[in-house]
Protein backbone atom coordinates (compact mmCIF):
# COMPACT_ATOMS: atom_id res chain seq x y z
CA UNK A 1 0.00 0.00 0.00
CA UNK A 2 2.66 2.49 1.01
CA UNK A 3 4.82 3.53 -1.91
CA UNK A 4 8.55 4.12 -1.36
CA UNK A 5 7.94 7.87 -1.51
CA UNK A 6 5.20 7.80 1.10
CA UNK A 7 5.84 10.17 3.97
CA UNK A 8 3.66 8.17 6.37
CA UNK A 9 5.63 7.35 9.50
CA UNK A 10 6.37 3.68 9.86
CA UNK A 11 5.38 3.59 13.50
CA UNK A 12 1.92 4.99 12.86
CA UNK A 13 -0.55 4.20 15.61
CA UNK A 14 -4.30 3.89 15.30
CA UNK A 15 -5.92 6.97 16.80
CA UNK A 16 -7.95 6.35 19.94
CA UNK A 17 -11.66 7.33 19.99
CA UNK A 18 -10.91 10.62 21.77
CA UNK A 19 -8.52 11.66 19.00
CA UNK A 20 -11.05 10.65 16.33
CA UNK A 21 -13.76 12.93 17.70
CA UNK A 22 -11.22 15.79 18.00
CA UNK A 23 -10.21 15.28 14.35
CA UNK A 24 -13.92 15.32 13.31
CA UNK A 25 -14.48 18.51 15.27
CA UNK A 26 -11.48 20.40 13.90
CA UNK A 27 -11.94 19.31 10.29
CA UNK A 28 -15.29 21.12 9.96
CA UNK A 29 -14.84 24.01 7.49
CA UNK A 30 -17.30 26.19 9.44
CA UNK A 31 -16.12 28.58 12.15
CA UNK A 32 -16.33 26.98 15.53
CA UNK A 33 -18.81 28.57 17.90
CA UNK A 34 -17.10 29.10 21.21
CA UNK A 35 -18.30 30.99 24.25
CA UNK A 36 -15.57 33.58 23.76
CA UNK A 37 -16.56 34.28 20.18
CA UNK A 38 -20.23 34.64 21.07
CA UNK A 39 -19.28 37.08 23.82
CA UNK A 40 -17.05 39.13 21.48
CA UNK A 41 -19.71 39.49 18.79
CA UNK A 42 -22.42 40.31 21.35
CA UNK A 43 -20.21 43.00 22.91
CA UNK A 44 -19.47 44.63 19.55
CA UNK A 45 -23.14 44.61 18.48
CA UNK A 46 -24.17 46.00 21.85
CA UNK A 47 -21.61 48.83 21.67
CA UNK A 48 -22.73 49.86 18.19
CA UNK A 49 -26.45 49.80 19.15
CA UNK A 50 -25.77 51.84 22.30
CA UNK A 51 -23.80 54.43 20.31
CA UNK A 52 -26.37 54.78 17.50
CA UNK A 53 -29.06 55.27 20.10
CA UNK A 54 -27.17 57.88 22.12
CA UNK A 55 -25.65 59.89 19.28
CA UNK A 56 -28.87 60.39 17.34
CA UNK A 57 -27.45 58.88 14.17
CA UNK A 58 -30.17 58.84 11.54
CA UNK A 59 -29.68 57.83 7.93
CA UNK A 60 -33.06 59.35 7.12
CA UNK A 61 -32.13 62.79 8.44
CA UNK A 62 -28.91 62.64 6.45
CA UNK A 63 -30.79 61.81 3.25
CA UNK A 64 -33.31 64.60 3.90
CA UNK A 65 -30.47 67.06 4.48
CA UNK A 66 -28.57 66.31 1.28
CA UNK A 67 -30.19 69.20 -0.67
CA UNK A 68 -29.11 71.61 2.09
CA UNK A 69 -25.52 70.42 1.78
CA UNK A 70 -25.67 70.97 -1.97
CA UNK A 71 -27.13 74.45 -1.39
CA UNK A 72 -24.34 75.32 1.10
CA UNK A 73 -21.63 74.11 -1.26
CA UNK A 74 -23.21 76.07 -4.13
CA UNK A 75 -23.01 79.27 -2.10
CA UNK A 76 -19.32 78.59 -1.43
CA UNK A 77 -18.64 78.38 -5.14
CA UNK A 78 -16.72 79.94 -6.79
CA UNK A 79 -13.85 80.34 -4.36
CA UNK A 80 -12.60 83.87 -3.96
CA UNK A 81 -8.82 83.94 -4.22
CA UNK A 82 -8.57 87.73 -4.03
CA UNK A 83 -6.89 87.56 -0.57
CA UNK A 84 -4.56 84.71 -1.49
CA UNK A 85 -1.46 86.56 -0.29
CA UNK A 86 -2.75 86.71 3.27
CA UNK A 87 -4.04 83.12 3.13
CA UNK A 88 -0.61 81.91 1.97
CA UNK A 89 1.20 83.83 4.72
CA UNK A 90 -1.16 82.35 7.35
CA UNK A 91 -0.72 78.86 5.91
CA UNK A 92 3.04 79.24 6.24
CA UNK A 93 2.61 80.39 9.83
CA UNK A 94 0.45 77.32 10.46
CA UNK A 95 3.14 75.08 8.97
CA UNK A 96 5.90 76.74 10.99
CA UNK A 97 3.87 76.29 14.17
CA UNK A 98 3.42 72.61 13.33
CA UNK A 99 7.14 72.14 12.71
CA UNK A 100 8.30 73.80 15.94
CA UNK A 101 5.45 72.22 17.92
CA UNK A 102 6.41 68.79 16.59
CA UNK A 103 10.11 69.25 17.39
CA UNK A 104 9.42 70.40 20.95
CA UNK A 105 6.69 67.81 21.33
CA UNK A 106 8.79 64.90 20.09
CA UNK A 107 11.75 65.80 22.31
CA UNK A 108 9.49 66.02 25.35
CA UNK A 109 7.65 62.87 24.34
CA UNK A 110 10.91 60.97 24.00
CA UNK A 111 12.03 61.99 27.47
CA UNK A 112 8.63 61.01 28.87
CA UNK A 113 8.80 57.76 26.89
CA UNK A 114 12.07 56.79 28.62
CA UNK A 115 10.23 57.13 31.91
CA UNK A 116 7.21 55.27 30.53
CA UNK A 117 9.12 52.28 29.07
CA UNK A 118 9.19 49.29 31.39
CA UNK A 119 12.58 48.14 30.07
CA UNK A 120 14.23 51.41 31.18
CA UNK A 121 12.36 52.88 34.13
CA UNK A 122 11.77 51.48 37.59
CA UNK A 123 8.22 50.52 38.45
CA UNK A 124 7.25 53.72 40.36
CA UNK A 125 8.70 55.98 37.64
CA UNK A 126 6.97 53.91 34.96
CA UNK A 127 3.57 54.12 36.65
CA UNK A 128 3.91 57.86 37.31
CA UNK A 129 4.88 58.55 33.69
CA UNK A 130 2.04 56.44 32.29
CA UNK A 131 -0.42 58.23 34.56
CA UNK A 132 0.92 61.62 33.46
CA UNK A 133 0.60 60.59 29.80
CA UNK A 134 -3.01 59.54 30.34
CA UNK A 135 -3.81 62.94 31.83
CA UNK A 136 -2.08 64.79 28.98
CA UNK A 137 -3.86 62.66 26.39
CA UNK A 138 -7.30 63.44 27.80
CA UNK A 139 -6.83 67.23 27.56
CA UNK A 140 -7.84 68.64 24.12
CA UNK A 141 -5.29 70.84 22.35
CA UNK A 142 -7.78 73.72 22.32
CA UNK A 143 -7.72 73.73 26.12
CA UNK A 144 -3.92 73.87 26.11
CA UNK A 145 -4.18 76.70 23.57
CA UNK A 146 -6.50 78.67 25.84
CA UNK A 147 -4.16 78.14 28.79
CA UNK A 148 -1.14 79.39 26.84
CA UNK A 149 -3.01 82.32 25.26
CA UNK A 150 -3.71 83.52 28.78
CA UNK A 151 -0.09 82.86 29.76
CA UNK A 152 1.88 84.29 26.84
CA UNK A 153 -0.78 86.27 24.97
CA UNK A 154 -2.44 85.89 21.56
CA UNK A 155 -0.38 84.57 18.67
CA UNK A 156 1.42 81.55 17.27
CA UNK A 157 3.72 81.07 20.31
CA UNK A 158 0.75 79.97 22.40
CA UNK A 159 -0.21 77.63 19.54
CA UNK A 160 3.26 76.08 19.45
CA UNK A 161 3.12 75.33 23.16
CA UNK A 162 -0.35 73.82 22.80
CA UNK A 163 0.84 71.58 19.97
CA UNK A 164 3.91 70.50 21.95
CA UNK A 165 1.87 69.51 25.00
CA UNK A 166 -0.75 67.87 22.84
CA UNK A 167 2.07 65.85 21.22
CA UNK A 168 3.10 64.33 24.56
CA UNK A 169 -0.30 62.74 24.91
CA UNK A 170 -0.43 61.68 21.27
CA UNK A 171 2.95 59.98 20.83
CA UNK A 172 4.47 59.69 24.33
CA UNK A 173 2.83 56.33 24.82
CA UNK A 174 3.56 54.93 21.36
CA UNK A 175 7.19 56.07 21.63
CA UNK A 176 7.38 54.17 24.92
CA UNK A 177 5.90 51.12 23.27
CA UNK A 178 8.39 51.34 20.39
CA UNK A 179 11.20 51.36 22.96
CA UNK A 180 9.67 48.43 24.83
CA UNK A 181 9.47 46.40 21.61
CA UNK A 182 13.23 46.33 20.97
CA UNK A 183 15.32 43.16 21.06
CA UNK A 184 16.89 42.89 24.55
CA UNK A 185 19.99 41.00 23.35
CA UNK A 186 22.07 44.06 22.37
CA UNK A 187 21.07 45.63 25.71
CA UNK A 188 22.52 42.59 27.46
CA UNK A 189 25.73 43.05 25.45
CA UNK A 190 26.03 46.71 26.48
CA UNK A 191 25.64 45.71 30.13
CA UNK A 192 28.26 43.02 29.64
CA UNK A 193 30.88 45.50 28.38
CA UNK A 194 30.27 47.67 31.44
CA UNK A 195 28.52 50.58 29.70
CA UNK A 196 26.43 52.89 31.84
CA UNK A 197 22.68 53.32 31.53
CA UNK A 198 22.77 56.40 29.29
CA UNK A 199 25.23 54.67 26.95
CA UNK A 200 23.05 51.57 26.90
CA UNK A 201 20.05 53.65 25.86
CA UNK A 202 22.05 55.55 23.24
CA UNK A 203 23.73 52.52 21.66
CA UNK A 204 21.41 49.55 22.16
CA UNK A 205 17.91 51.00 22.49
CA UNK A 206 17.61 54.13 20.37
CA UNK A 207 19.21 52.67 17.22
CA UNK A 208 16.74 49.80 17.33
CA UNK A 209 13.72 51.99 18.00
CA UNK A 210 14.70 54.88 15.73
CA UNK A 211 12.90 53.82 12.50
CA UNK A 212 9.63 53.49 14.41
CA UNK A 213 10.26 56.69 16.37
CA UNK A 214 10.95 58.64 13.17
CA UNK A 215 7.86 57.22 11.52
CA UNK A 216 5.65 58.16 14.46
CA UNK A 217 7.21 61.63 14.50
CA UNK A 218 6.27 62.20 10.87
CA UNK A 219 2.70 61.05 11.59
CA UNK A 220 2.69 63.42 14.55
CA UNK A 221 3.81 66.24 12.27
CA UNK A 222 0.96 65.50 9.84
CA UNK A 223 -1.48 65.53 12.73
CA UNK A 224 -0.03 68.75 14.10
CA UNK A 225 -0.43 70.51 10.73
CA UNK A 226 -4.13 69.67 10.81
CA UNK A 227 -4.43 70.56 14.49
CA UNK A 228 -2.65 73.88 13.90
CA UNK A 229 -5.33 74.96 11.39
CA UNK A 230 -7.96 75.19 14.13
CA UNK A 231 -5.89 76.66 17.00
CA UNK A 232 -6.57 80.16 15.58
CA UNK A 233 -10.11 79.65 16.83
CA UNK A 234 -8.91 80.70 20.30
CA UNK A 235 -6.35 83.19 19.00
CA UNK A 236 -3.35 80.87 19.15
CA UNK A 237 -2.03 81.72 15.68
CA UNK A 238 -2.27 80.08 12.29
CA UNK A 239 -5.02 80.15 9.73
CA UNK A 240 -7.84 79.20 12.11
CA UNK A 241 -8.82 82.74 13.01
CA UNK A 242 -9.13 83.72 9.35
CA UNK A 243 -11.23 80.60 8.77
CA UNK A 244 -13.69 81.23 11.60
CA UNK A 245 -13.93 84.93 10.74
CA UNK A 246 -14.86 84.08 7.15
CA UNK A 247 -17.51 81.70 8.45
CA UNK A 248 -19.01 84.28 10.81
CA UNK A 249 -18.98 86.95 8.09
CA UNK A 250 -20.69 84.60 5.60
CA UNK A 251 -17.73 85.31 3.33
CA UNK A 252 -18.17 81.92 1.68
CA UNK A 253 -15.99 82.49 -1.38
CA UNK A 254 -13.07 83.40 0.86
CA UNK A 255 -13.90 80.45 3.16
CA UNK A 256 -13.77 78.08 0.18
CA UNK A 257 -10.40 79.51 -0.87
CA UNK A 258 -9.04 78.89 2.64
CA UNK A 259 -10.40 75.34 2.80
CA UNK A 260 -9.00 74.48 -0.63
CA UNK A 261 -5.61 75.91 0.36
CA UNK A 262 -5.58 73.81 3.53
CA UNK A 263 -6.52 70.73 1.50
CA UNK A 264 -3.59 71.35 -0.86
CA UNK A 265 -1.12 71.89 2.00
CA UNK A 266 -2.28 68.87 4.01
CA UNK A 267 -2.18 66.68 0.89
CA UNK A 268 1.33 67.79 0.00
CA UNK A 269 2.54 67.18 3.54
CA UNK A 270 0.90 63.76 3.70
CA UNK A 271 2.63 62.79 0.45
CA UNK A 272 5.99 64.10 1.67
CA UNK A 273 5.58 62.33 5.00
CA UNK A 274 4.57 59.05 3.33
CA UNK A 275 7.61 59.31 1.05
CA UNK A 276 9.96 59.94 3.98
CA UNK A 277 8.43 57.12 6.00
CA UNK A 278 8.83 54.79 3.04
CA UNK A 279 12.55 55.55 2.99
CA UNK A 280 13.02 54.80 6.68
CA UNK A 281 13.23 51.01 6.61
Amino acid sequence: MATPTSTAPSDRRDPDPGQLSRIDELSSPWPRITGRRVLTVATLVGAVAWSVDGSGFSAGALADGLPNIADFLARMWPPDFSQMGRVFALLMETLQMAIIGTILGSIGSLLLAFAAADNIASRPVYLTARFLLNILRSIPELVFALIFVSAVGLGPFAGIMALALGSFGTVGKIYAEAIEAIDPKPVEALQAVGANKAQTIAFAMLPQASPLLASYTLLLWEGNVRAATILGLVGAGGIGLELTTAMRMYDFGHLMAIVLSIVVMVTLIDRLSAYLRGRLT
Partner: protein, 309 residues
Protein backbone atom coordinates in the same frame (compact mmCIF):
# COMPACT_ATOMS: atom_id res chain seq x y z
CA UNK B 1 53.11 27.02 25.46
CA UNK B 2 55.44 26.32 28.39
CA UNK B 3 55.50 28.07 31.70
CA UNK B 4 58.78 29.71 30.79
CA UNK B 5 57.32 31.13 27.60
CA UNK B 6 54.45 32.52 29.52
CA UNK B 7 56.60 34.11 32.17
CA UNK B 8 58.75 35.69 29.47
CA UNK B 9 55.72 37.11 27.87
CA UNK B 10 54.49 38.51 31.14
CA UNK B 11 57.86 40.08 31.82
CA UNK B 12 57.97 41.57 28.36
CA UNK B 13 54.63 43.11 28.90
CA UNK B 14 55.68 44.68 32.14
CA UNK B 15 58.95 46.07 30.82
CA UNK B 16 57.30 47.11 27.60
CA UNK B 17 54.75 49.00 29.55
CA UNK B 18 57.26 50.86 31.69
CA UNK B 19 59.39 51.61 28.65
CA UNK B 20 56.85 53.27 26.50
CA UNK B 21 53.85 54.01 28.63
CA UNK B 22 54.58 56.18 31.64
CA UNK B 23 51.01 57.41 31.70
CA UNK B 24 48.02 56.51 29.60
CA UNK B 25 49.59 57.51 26.34
CA UNK B 26 49.85 54.09 24.75
CA UNK B 27 46.45 52.89 25.84
CA UNK B 28 45.02 52.70 22.37
CA UNK B 29 46.18 52.14 18.89
CA UNK B 30 48.56 49.25 19.29
CA UNK B 31 48.47 46.75 16.47
CA UNK B 32 49.90 44.11 18.76
CA UNK B 33 47.32 43.14 21.31
CA UNK B 34 49.85 41.40 23.52
CA UNK B 35 51.38 44.78 24.18
CA UNK B 36 48.14 46.69 24.02
CA UNK B 37 47.03 44.86 27.09
CA UNK B 38 49.85 46.15 29.28
CA UNK B 39 48.91 49.74 28.78
CA UNK B 40 46.37 49.50 31.54
CA UNK B 41 46.81 52.16 34.22
CA UNK B 42 48.91 50.99 37.13
CA UNK B 43 45.94 51.10 39.51
CA UNK B 44 44.21 48.48 37.41
CA UNK B 45 43.95 45.10 39.16
CA UNK B 46 44.89 43.37 35.91
CA UNK B 47 48.21 45.20 35.95
CA UNK B 48 48.82 44.30 39.58
CA UNK B 49 48.18 40.71 38.64
CA UNK B 50 50.78 40.82 35.88
CA UNK B 51 53.38 42.37 38.17
CA UNK B 52 52.85 39.78 40.89
CA UNK B 53 52.73 36.90 38.45
CA UNK B 54 56.34 35.93 39.05
CA UNK B 55 57.56 32.96 37.06
CA UNK B 56 54.26 31.31 36.39
CA UNK B 57 51.35 32.23 34.19
CA UNK B 58 48.98 34.53 36.00
CA UNK B 59 45.73 33.10 37.28
CA UNK B 60 42.91 35.20 35.90
CA UNK B 61 39.95 33.32 37.37
CA UNK B 62 39.88 31.30 40.56
CA UNK B 63 36.60 29.70 41.60
CA UNK B 64 36.45 28.20 45.07
CA UNK B 65 33.47 26.00 45.97
CA UNK B 66 31.39 28.18 43.69
CA UNK B 67 27.66 27.50 43.90
CA UNK B 68 24.77 29.29 42.23
CA UNK B 69 21.28 28.20 43.17
CA UNK B 70 18.08 29.46 41.58
CA UNK B 71 15.53 28.49 44.21
CA UNK B 72 15.63 24.69 44.32
CA UNK B 73 17.74 24.42 41.17
CA UNK B 74 21.46 24.01 41.77
CA UNK B 75 22.83 25.44 38.53
CA UNK B 76 26.36 25.33 39.96
CA UNK B 77 27.14 23.18 42.95
CA UNK B 78 30.67 23.49 44.31
CA UNK B 79 32.93 24.32 41.39
CA UNK B 80 36.68 24.67 41.97
CA UNK B 81 38.57 25.93 38.96
CA UNK B 82 41.57 28.02 37.99
CA UNK B 83 42.00 29.71 34.65
CA UNK B 84 45.47 30.93 33.62
CA UNK B 85 46.67 33.32 30.97
CA UNK B 86 46.77 32.04 27.42
CA UNK B 87 44.49 29.03 27.92
CA UNK B 88 41.68 28.15 25.56
CA UNK B 89 39.18 26.21 27.63
CA UNK B 90 36.18 24.42 26.19
CA UNK B 91 33.28 24.16 28.61
CA UNK B 92 31.20 21.08 27.89
CA UNK B 93 28.11 19.50 29.33
CA UNK B 94 24.51 18.88 28.37
CA UNK B 95 21.89 21.63 28.44
CA UNK B 96 21.23 22.74 31.98
CA UNK B 97 24.57 21.46 33.27
CA UNK B 98 25.58 24.95 34.39
CA UNK B 99 27.80 26.15 31.52
CA UNK B 100 26.00 29.44 30.95
CA UNK B 101 25.61 30.06 34.66
CA UNK B 102 29.35 29.60 35.16
CA UNK B 103 30.17 32.08 32.39
CA UNK B 104 27.60 34.56 33.62
CA UNK B 105 28.88 34.39 37.15
CA UNK B 106 32.40 35.31 35.96
CA UNK B 107 31.22 38.65 34.59
CA UNK B 108 28.87 39.26 37.49
CA UNK B 109 25.57 38.74 35.70
CA UNK B 110 24.65 36.16 38.36
CA UNK B 111 25.69 36.22 42.02
CA UNK B 112 27.32 33.29 43.79
CA UNK B 113 25.07 31.65 46.37
CA UNK B 114 28.09 30.11 48.07
CA UNK B 115 31.85 30.17 47.63
CA UNK B 116 33.97 32.85 46.01
CA UNK B 117 35.11 33.80 42.56
CA UNK B 118 38.23 35.87 41.93
CA UNK B 119 38.28 37.48 38.51
CA UNK B 120 41.24 39.63 37.44
CA UNK B 121 41.93 40.79 40.99
CA UNK B 122 38.34 41.32 42.07
CA UNK B 123 36.45 39.01 44.40
CA UNK B 124 32.83 38.05 44.01
CA UNK B 125 30.39 38.25 45.68
CA UNK B 126 30.41 41.66 47.31
CA UNK B 127 31.15 44.09 44.49
CA UNK B 128 29.37 47.45 44.40
CA UNK B 129 27.68 48.71 41.29
CA UNK B 130 30.68 50.62 39.96
CA UNK B 131 33.05 47.76 40.76
CA UNK B 132 30.72 45.41 38.92
CA UNK B 133 30.79 47.69 35.90
CA UNK B 134 34.58 47.75 36.15
CA UNK B 135 34.65 43.95 36.26
CA UNK B 136 32.41 43.69 33.20
CA UNK B 137 34.63 46.14 31.36
CA UNK B 138 37.52 43.78 32.07
CA UNK B 139 35.73 40.64 30.86
CA UNK B 140 34.94 40.26 27.16
CA UNK B 141 31.75 38.36 26.38
CA UNK B 142 30.92 36.71 23.05
CA UNK B 143 27.29 35.67 22.62
CA UNK B 144 25.64 32.83 20.70
CA UNK B 145 23.32 35.28 18.92
CA UNK B 146 26.17 37.85 18.60
CA UNK B 147 24.01 40.49 20.36
CA UNK B 148 25.14 43.24 18.01
CA UNK B 149 23.07 46.36 17.33
CA UNK B 150 21.73 45.55 13.85
CA UNK B 151 21.44 49.08 12.50
CA UNK B 152 24.84 50.27 13.61
CA UNK B 153 27.98 49.81 11.54
CA UNK B 154 30.55 47.13 12.29
CA UNK B 155 32.91 49.89 13.43
CA UNK B 156 30.39 51.39 15.87
CA UNK B 157 29.56 47.94 17.22
CA UNK B 158 33.25 47.41 17.97
CA UNK B 159 33.55 50.88 19.53
CA UNK B 160 30.79 49.83 21.95
CA UNK B 161 33.48 47.72 23.65
CA UNK B 162 35.36 50.94 24.40
CA UNK B 163 32.42 52.75 25.98
CA UNK B 164 33.56 52.34 29.59
CA UNK B 165 36.90 53.98 28.66
CA UNK B 166 35.35 56.76 26.58
CA UNK B 167 34.37 60.17 27.90
CA UNK B 168 30.66 59.82 28.62
CA UNK B 169 29.21 63.02 27.13
CA UNK B 170 30.84 62.75 23.67
CA UNK B 171 30.20 59.00 23.61
CA UNK B 172 26.45 59.60 23.88
CA UNK B 173 26.72 61.54 20.60
CA UNK B 174 28.70 58.61 19.10
CA UNK B 175 31.96 60.57 19.26
CA UNK B 176 35.05 58.52 20.12
CA UNK B 177 38.69 59.57 20.22
CA UNK B 178 40.87 59.10 17.16
CA UNK B 179 42.89 56.52 19.13
CA UNK B 180 39.82 54.50 19.99
CA UNK B 181 38.58 54.57 16.40
CA UNK B 182 42.01 53.53 15.15
CA UNK B 183 42.16 50.67 17.64
CA UNK B 184 38.69 49.46 16.61
CA UNK B 185 39.63 49.62 12.93
CA UNK B 186 42.85 47.70 13.57
CA UNK B 187 40.89 44.97 15.33
CA UNK B 188 38.47 44.77 12.41
CA UNK B 189 41.47 44.58 10.09
CA UNK B 190 43.03 41.74 12.09
CA UNK B 191 39.79 39.80 11.80
CA UNK B 192 39.56 40.48 8.06
CA UNK B 193 36.58 42.81 8.37
CA UNK B 194 38.04 46.18 7.41
CA UNK B 195 36.10 46.25 4.10
CA UNK B 196 32.92 45.84 6.15
CA UNK B 197 33.70 48.57 8.70
CA UNK B 198 31.05 51.08 7.62
CA UNK B 199 28.34 48.55 6.76
CA UNK B 200 25.40 47.97 9.06
CA UNK B 201 25.99 44.63 10.77
CA UNK B 202 22.54 43.34 9.81
CA UNK B 203 23.87 43.05 6.26
CA UNK B 204 26.82 40.88 7.37
CA UNK B 205 26.92 37.07 7.35
CA UNK B 206 26.68 35.14 10.61
CA UNK B 207 30.42 34.45 10.67
CA UNK B 208 31.25 38.08 10.02
CA UNK B 209 28.83 39.16 12.73
CA UNK B 210 30.46 36.83 15.24
CA UNK B 211 33.88 38.29 14.32
CA UNK B 212 32.48 41.76 15.00
CA UNK B 213 31.36 40.35 18.36
CA UNK B 214 34.91 39.11 19.02
CA UNK B 215 36.38 42.48 17.99
CA UNK B 216 33.97 44.20 20.38
CA UNK B 217 35.18 41.95 23.20
CA UNK B 218 38.84 42.69 22.30
CA UNK B 219 38.10 46.41 22.20
CA UNK B 220 37.53 46.13 25.94
CA UNK B 221 41.21 45.13 26.33
CA UNK B 222 39.90 42.29 28.47
CA UNK B 223 41.72 40.13 30.99
CA UNK B 224 39.63 37.19 29.82
CA UNK B 225 37.14 36.44 27.05
CA UNK B 226 34.04 34.34 27.73
CA UNK B 227 32.10 32.87 24.84
CA UNK B 228 28.65 31.36 25.41
CA UNK B 229 28.00 28.89 22.58
CA UNK B 230 29.85 31.18 20.14
CA UNK B 231 29.43 28.88 17.13
CA UNK B 232 26.04 27.28 17.81
CA UNK B 233 24.36 29.63 15.30
CA UNK B 234 26.98 29.10 12.58
CA UNK B 235 27.47 26.45 9.93
CA UNK B 236 30.41 24.05 10.49
CA UNK B 237 32.91 25.84 8.24
CA UNK B 238 32.29 29.24 9.85
CA UNK B 239 32.29 27.59 13.27
CA UNK B 240 35.81 26.32 12.64
CA UNK B 241 37.12 29.70 11.54
CA UNK B 242 35.55 31.53 14.50
CA UNK B 243 37.03 28.99 16.92
CA UNK B 244 40.38 29.39 15.18
CA UNK B 245 40.13 33.13 15.83
CA UNK B 246 39.40 32.50 19.49
CA UNK B 247 42.31 30.06 19.75
CA UNK B 248 44.68 32.61 18.22
CA UNK B 249 43.40 35.14 20.68
CA UNK B 250 44.50 32.90 23.54
CA UNK B 251 47.81 31.82 21.99
CA UNK B 252 49.04 35.09 20.49
CA UNK B 253 47.63 37.65 22.88
CA UNK B 254 47.71 35.57 26.03
CA UNK B 255 44.08 36.33 26.81
CA UNK B 256 42.44 33.27 28.30
CA UNK B 257 39.26 32.16 26.55
CA UNK B 258 36.48 30.04 28.01
CA UNK B 259 34.03 28.90 25.35
CA UNK B 260 31.01 26.75 26.06
CA UNK B 261 30.46 24.35 23.18
CA UNK B 262 28.03 21.56 22.52
CA UNK B 263 30.06 19.75 19.88
CA UNK B 264 32.71 17.54 21.49
CA UNK B 265 34.68 17.23 18.24
CA UNK B 266 35.17 21.00 18.06
CA UNK B 267 36.34 21.09 21.67
CA UNK B 268 38.90 18.32 21.01
CA UNK B 269 40.16 20.02 17.90
CA UNK B 270 40.50 23.61 19.11
CA UNK B 271 40.71 23.73 22.90
CA UNK B 272 43.80 23.25 25.08
CA UNK B 273 41.75 22.15 28.04
CA UNK B 274 38.30 20.71 28.56
CA UNK B 275 36.15 21.39 31.59
CA UNK B 276 33.03 19.25 31.63
CA UNK B 277 30.07 20.02 33.85
CA UNK B 278 27.20 17.79 34.85
CA UNK B 279 24.46 18.90 37.21
CA UNK B 280 26.51 21.88 38.27
CA UNK B 281 29.61 19.88 39.18
CA UNK B 282 32.94 19.55 37.38
CA UNK B 283 33.16 15.94 36.12
CA UNK B 284 36.26 16.40 33.97
CA UNK B 285 39.06 18.93 33.95
CA UNK B 286 42.16 18.26 31.90
CA UNK B 287 43.92 18.52 28.55
CA UNK B 288 41.47 18.17 25.70
CA UNK B 289 43.27 15.09 24.33
CA UNK B 290 42.50 13.30 27.60
CA UNK B 291 38.79 13.87 27.11
CA UNK B 292 38.22 10.34 25.85
CA UNK B 293 35.03 8.70 24.64
CA UNK B 294 34.76 7.21 28.13
CA UNK B 295 34.76 10.76 29.56
CA UNK B 296 32.20 11.83 26.97
CA UNK B 297 29.94 9.03 28.16
CA UNK B 298 30.43 10.05 31.79
CA UNK B 299 29.57 13.65 30.93
CA UNK B 300 26.66 13.20 28.61
CA UNK B 301 25.45 9.69 29.31
CA UNK B 302 26.19 8.58 25.72
CA UNK B 303 29.25 8.43 23.53
CA UNK B 304 28.36 10.33 20.37
CA UNK B 305 31.15 12.86 20.17
CA UNK B 306 28.92 15.32 18.35
CA UNK B 307 26.70 15.50 21.39
CA UNK B 308 23.62 15.54 19.22
CA UNK B 309 22.24 12.05 20.03
Amino acid sequence: MTGRDRSNRVDERVSDRSARDPGHAGREGSADLATAKVTLPSTDPAFARIVTAGNRAATVVRARDLAVHFGEVRALDGVDLEVRDGEFIALLGHSGSGKSTFLRSINGLVEPTRGTLEVAGRTLPGLGRDQLRGLRGDVGFVFQQFNLVPRLSALTNVLVGGLPDARVAPSLAYRFSRDQRRHALELLGQLGLLPRATQQVRHLSGGEQQRVGIARALMQQPSIVLADEPVASLDPKLAGSVLEDLRRLARERGIPVIASLHVVALARRFADRVVALSDGKVVFDGPSHDFTDEEVRRTYGYADEYGTE
